[in-house]
């Protein structure tokens, strides 16, 4: 994975130029947000559920080691084999070792953000293992050699014409036919033989239940169940923060997950894999990859409550108008902005600035993560550690000095006529400034509030 610093504003400019894509992307994600609102408003207990979900997660994370040990104990008693990976490299090595030692060469897999985070696919492919993504959106992205742009709808930045192009070049569909039913049916027909002959199947997990050792996977397409029920070998990759204490807690999370993600009451399939069927093996890989370090970060451990619904992405005006790929990270949108810097502060130092701090992400989050407050805190850390891009830093230093001094502020505002001209124009509209780039800053009023106040109210009172 490249260590080069991501420039979110620069990366998003390409997306913004494709107007049809931008308009559709914005509309589609806002539609998901609207459907989510309808569900939330239809349930009088919604806010109670959010509070419960948040408290269950906080309790679990503050007792995480005990719950992981309980989960492991029960999974082993169920007949599963449990592996621990401290980082992405170890996770990938465990998976390849399991497969090789059983002579397995083909893997059908359901969508898993964790395996994307670990960059697992190229690792396995370079070692002679054929990997088939079976979720439609994830498969489109695999065939186009692009990462997913959204954690729930991986190809949401593509239009049907893009999919027709990708499929015609890779799985032999008619390039002129961009009918959505035709494209989806083509993928179904193309994928099915892989399910039937695959040596191994893989899923991620939405929840791992400590009480029973159960792996819970929420999907719509049926691909996760096909990936598990056909091959003789099943591998589940699970981030350590996915554990919850008891079966009864699933009621709280399952009621909120799909409502928050897609605005549907539940996913078509909520699958509970507790034990392997006769004659097969079930392996569980528990992955840390930075999570235990994040748990020790006083302001940021709350991000581990995330259930990956994507509601914060759908509601975010910056995400909707810049596209997930512009973040240059596995996790994009507001949740990505607060998680990514824990992986690499320098590489992702521009991401906490890809936000208006409007707080909408926080108010839709089903587990009450204070996302926008964390974004603000990341900005402070990045500024302190001098990871700010040059222009943002210079502008803020000048603004900081002037705002700190009322007399200098009045002089600057009064003489320049507008608050915005506080910053020299070359600084507002030069090539590097994200804020001036895609729009003209609105024209400021002719008078400042203070000038208006002095002329009107203060005069009337006969003061000054």
């Amino acid at each position: 994975m490249s260590m080069k610093r991501i420039d979110h504003a620069e990366a998003s400019s390409k997306f913004i130029k494709a107007k049809d894509h931008l308009d559709f992307h914005d509309k589609r994600l806002w539609d998901l947000r609207t459907k989510r609102d309808r569900e939330a408003e239809g349930m009088p207990e919604w806010e109670d559920l959010r509070a419960l979900a948040s408290a269950i997660k906080e309790h679990t994370l503050t007792h995480l080691a005990d719950y992981l040990e309980e989960f492991e104990r029960n999974a082993i008693a169920n007949g599963a084999q449990v592996h621990w990976a401290k980082d992405a490299a170890e996770h990938n090595q465990i998976v390849v070792d399991i497969m090789r030692s059983r002579g397995a060469r083909t893997l059908v897999k359901a969508k898993s953000m964790l395996t994307d985070e670990c960059d697992m696919r190229p690792f396995l492919e370079n070692r002679g293992i054929e990997v088939m993504e079976t979720d439609l959106g994830e498969r489109i992205q695999q065939l186009d050699d692009e990462p997913p742009s959204h954690i729930v709808v991986p190809a949401v930045h593509k239009l049907r014409g893009d999919v027709a192009r990708v499929f015609s070049e890779t799985i032999g569909t008619d390039a002129k036919n961009s009918d959505v039913h035709y494209l989806a049916e083509s993928q179904r027909q193309h994928t099915r033989p892989y399910f039937l002959r695959a040596d191994a199947g893989m899923t991620g997990a939405n929840f791992a239940v400590a009480e029973t050792g159960t792996v819970v996977v929420c999907t719509n397409e049926g691909n996760a169940d096909l990936s598990v029920h056909l091959p003789k070998l099943y591998i589940a990759s699970i981030g350590i923060e996915k554990v919850i204490p008891k079966i009864e807690h699933l009621g709280v999370f399952v009621r909120m997950l799909s409502r928050s993600a897609l605005g549907s009451p539940i996913t078509q399939l909520t699958s509970h894999f507790r034990a392997p069927r006769d004659g097969t093996e079930m392996h569980i890989v528990l992955v840390d990859n930075g999570r235990s370090e994040r748990l020790g970060m006083p302001d940021f451990w709350y991000s581990l409550k995330c259930i990956r619904c994507g509601a914060c992405m759908n509601t975010c005006p910056v995400y909707r108008r810049s596209g997930g790929l512009s973040y240059g990270a596995t996790y994009s949108g507001p949740i990505g902005v607060i998680i990514d810097p824990t992986f690499n502060l320098r590489k992702y130092s521009s991401l906490p600035f890809a936000s208006t701090l409007n707080g909408s992400c926080t108010s839709v989050c089903p587990v009450k993560i204070n996302i926008h407050e964390q974004i603000y805190k990341w900005r402070q850390i990045i500024a302190e550690r001098h990871q700010l891009p040059f222009v943002k830093k210079e502008a803020m230093q000048i603004a900081g000095k002037i705002l700190a001094n009322p007399r200098m502020y009045r002089a600057a505002v009064g003489t320049a006529g507008t608050g915005i001209d506080l910053l020299p124009r070359f600084m507002m509209y030069n090539k590097l400034n994200a804020w001036g780039k895609q729009r003209e800053v609105p024209k400021a009023p002719d008078k400042t509030f203070r000038q208006w106040y002095l002329e009107n109210r203060a005069k009337k009172r006969g003061k000054r």
Binding site: T62, V153, V180, H229, P265, G296
Partner: protein, 194 residues
Amino acid sequence: MSSRDEVLARIRKNQPPPLPLPAAPAFGGPAGSKLERFKTALARMGGKLADPPADGDLDGLIARLFPKAGVICSATPEVAGNRRLDQMRQPAELDDVDVGIVRAVFGVAETGSLWLTDAQFRVNTLGFLAQHLVALLDPARIVLDMHHAYRERSQFDARYGVFMTGPSATADIEGILIHGAQGIRTLTVVLAAA
């Protein structure tokens, strides 16, 4: 030190001060018939509903619902079908099934979901490789919501269990909803007392 011990030690070192586990929730849910709510939710999720045949002939009903079906495979003794499950050696052998038949353990009014386990499917791929699935549901066995569903605690000792809500679906291209993604193309629920 193994990775396991290293990860657990780091978690123990970094865990924030303990916070309490809140009590299990109990919400009332809206007034009205659970059966009517189930029907509405099922339709919304793309599922179909069929009344039980007056003469009790479920095989006849399935023949009427799927006149072109070749292979009909039933996991419940209430329907004969024409393919026997007990001859199955490999789960992939169900690839040619047109219609699968199964009896659900219970339904969920809130979401229109059915609870099914490996005991009902007998071969789990019946619910995913078949083109169409017919599920029998006792209308007396419908619980209020997902909280009540997860209180059927012994059900979750099954090796595999699933809340199936309508047929498989995708909206991954331009948000256009398609029923019949990778799994079953249609789900028909027949309200038939057990």
